[in-house]
């Protein structure tokens, strides 16, 4: 007996990334265009290396009294997921206290973006590391 195959093949997704990644890649939030001196920040963290193909800089404005991140700007030399991840992280971190911001992990960034392909997960780690470095730098000085 032959069984007829009725399932229609799914049209493959035109892009490996989620819509959310696409959105943040095409319209990144909170990036700093041009000279970093343009943004007067209270804390700065840089991670990665252009030789390795990625580098990320996080800059934070912090309200001393409440220990809250009031503004975030970033710059990056990196891939599409790196751009989208940093953009997403900047949204997530804004308005949080430093302790709360430290708790945002790479998985949370990836989830916020509707998932990242496996080999792109480290891109979200990168953004998080830069944020952590910025907060640590700040705490060393204050």
């Amino acid at each position: 007996m032959t069984k007829k195959c009725t399932s229609t093949p799914k049209t493959p997704a035109p892009w490996v990334y989620s819509e959310k990644v696409k959105e943040h890649f095409l319209n990144p939030q909170n990036f700093l265009m041009g000279d970093e001196k343009k943004f007067k920040c209270d804390a700065k963290g840089i991670i990665g290396n252009p030789i390795c193909g990625d580098q990320m800089l996080m800059m934070l404005k912090i309200d001393k009294k409440t220990d809250t991140i009031t503004d975030v700007k970033w710059k990056t030399y990196g891939c599409a997921s790196a751009i989208a991840s940093t953009s997403a992280l900047s949204e997530l971190a804004k308005g949080k206290t430093l302790d709360e911001a430290l708790k945002i992990d790479a998985k949370q960034i990836a989830d916020y973006l509707g998932g990242l392909p496996k080999h792109k997960f480290h891109c979200s780690v990168l953004g998080h590391d830069a944020l952590k470095a910025a907060i640590e730098n700040y705490r060393e000085k204050h």
């Binding site: 990665g48 193909g53 990625d54 891939c79």
Partner: protein, 386 residues
């Protein structure tokens, strides 16, 4: 869509598609079988073999069908197992990886900033070579388009006392159809070619083996190809390859590449250099295939450039960037020519086809300058004014 990734794979040529449909519908027999359908399929394969042989001026008996360029390359290297192998530092991984595994010693021939091999190095190090030494230098490089001086390599070998010990192989996967190839004039022992860079199907290639040159089959277990390559004949793909080969020979595609594609490629190069700050060519225009242009954009990362071009302009290109945090390595070709990871990570390869039009170049120039400007603007790296 503006497809500028022909060196990765090219859209199927109508005559190849027709030949494949014909093979699929009308030649269903196993070409090794002695019954009528088998015999008919066999004839179809032999016709394709003749067409391919003609394109490179070989004899049909010197052509062995393989599953593609990578298998052909692996087969040559495997033939020289436990021998000394000389190969350029910018060969395809399907040469370099097996050579690292099988060779008694792999001597990598260094290249200059254009990707041209160092002939002096070769002259010096090829002296006193042992019996059965392989020298493998690609006809043209896949990332840069650089054409290697195979004729000069051959003269160097011929002038040596030990010249009979040295066999010359060239990987012509990128060069086929783009420049005229004559294996007799080049006087080489082996040549690799594949169908899918010139409008044929993927999954089919050839190894040319000059009569009398050493040969060891890589795939055993069948009498196909006179025992030189076991495995049921891929009649459909072979018919497709035969059709593109015939097309290339009758239309002299290399002339069209020269007269029509090269000017477009050069125009794109000049527009980029003129309009985009921090751009630098990795391809030596006058020493390269007519259809490849590799450019680096300071402070802008290749994969991002590639995806912005794709999403904003439906422009399809490739990049030599691969991030180390993701276990990737930047292009070994650009590392060999420029020794600068940043240049490699910022590189984009445009590869044009016979159908590329001036309006495609205009479309690139409509999107690219802004993409680069924005990426440079948000980059952690500063673009120096030059």
């Amino acid at each position: 869509m503006i497809y500028l990734d022909h060196s990765a794979t090219s859209p199927i040529l109508p005559s190849a598609k027709k030949a494949m449909e014909n093979a699929l519908e009308n030649f269903p027999g196993n070409a090794s079988a002695l019954h009528t359908p088998g015999h008919l399929a066999h004839n179809l394969i032999e016709e394709a073999r003749e067409n391919i042989a003609k394109l490179i001026n070989a004899d049909p008996e010197e052509i062995i069908f393989t599953s593609g360029g990578s298998e052909a390359n692996n087969t040559v290297i495997h033939t020289f197992k436990n021998c000394e192998i000389f190969a350029s530092a910018i060969e395809h991984p399907s040469i370099l990886e097996p050579a690292k595994t099988y060779a008694k010693k792999l001597h990598q021939i260094p290249v200059d900033k254009d990707g041209v091999i160092n002939l002096d190095f070769l002259k010096k190090s090829l002296k006193n070579t042992a019996k059965n030494t392989l020298c493998s230098v690609m006809l043209a490089n896949n990332e840069l388009g650089t054409i290697e001086p195979i004729t000069e390599v051959k003269s160097i070998i011929s002038a040596l006392k030990s010249s009979d010990n040295i066999y010359l192989h060239t990987d012509a996967t990128q060069a086929l159809g783009k420049i005229k190839i004559d294996v007799k004039k080049l006087d080489i022992a082996y040549l690799t070619a594949s169908a899918h860079k010139i409008g044929g199907p993927v999954g089919i290639g050839i190894l040319y083996v000059k009569k009398g040159a050493p040969y060891q089959p890589l795939i055993l277990g069948g009498h196909q190809e006179h025992g030189k390559r076991a495995g049921t004949y891929n009649t459909v793909a072979i018919a497709g390859f035969g059709a593109v080969a015939k097309y290339a020979t009758t239309h002299k595609t290399w002339e069209t590449y020269e007269s029509e594609v090269r000017p477009l490629r050069d125009k794109l190069a000049n527009l980029i250099l003129k309009n985009i700050k921090g751009s630098a060519l990795n391809t030596p225009l006058s020493l390269s295939l007519p259809n490849i242009l590799n450019v680096s954009f300071a402070a802008a990362e290749g994969e991002s450039i590639q995806l912005y071009l794709d999403m904003l302009g439906k422009i399809i290109v490739s990049t030599g960037s691969a991030c180390a945090s993701g276990d990737g390595k930047p292009s070994h070709v650009i590392m060999a020519t420029r020794n600068d990871a940043e240049v490699a990570h910022s590189s984009i390869r445009f590869s044009l086809g016979l159908n590329t039009k001036k309006s495609d170049i205009d479309a690139v120039m409509k999107e690219l300058p802004n993409i680069i400007k924005n990426l440079q603007g948000i980059s952690t790296i500063e673009v120096k004014n030059d």
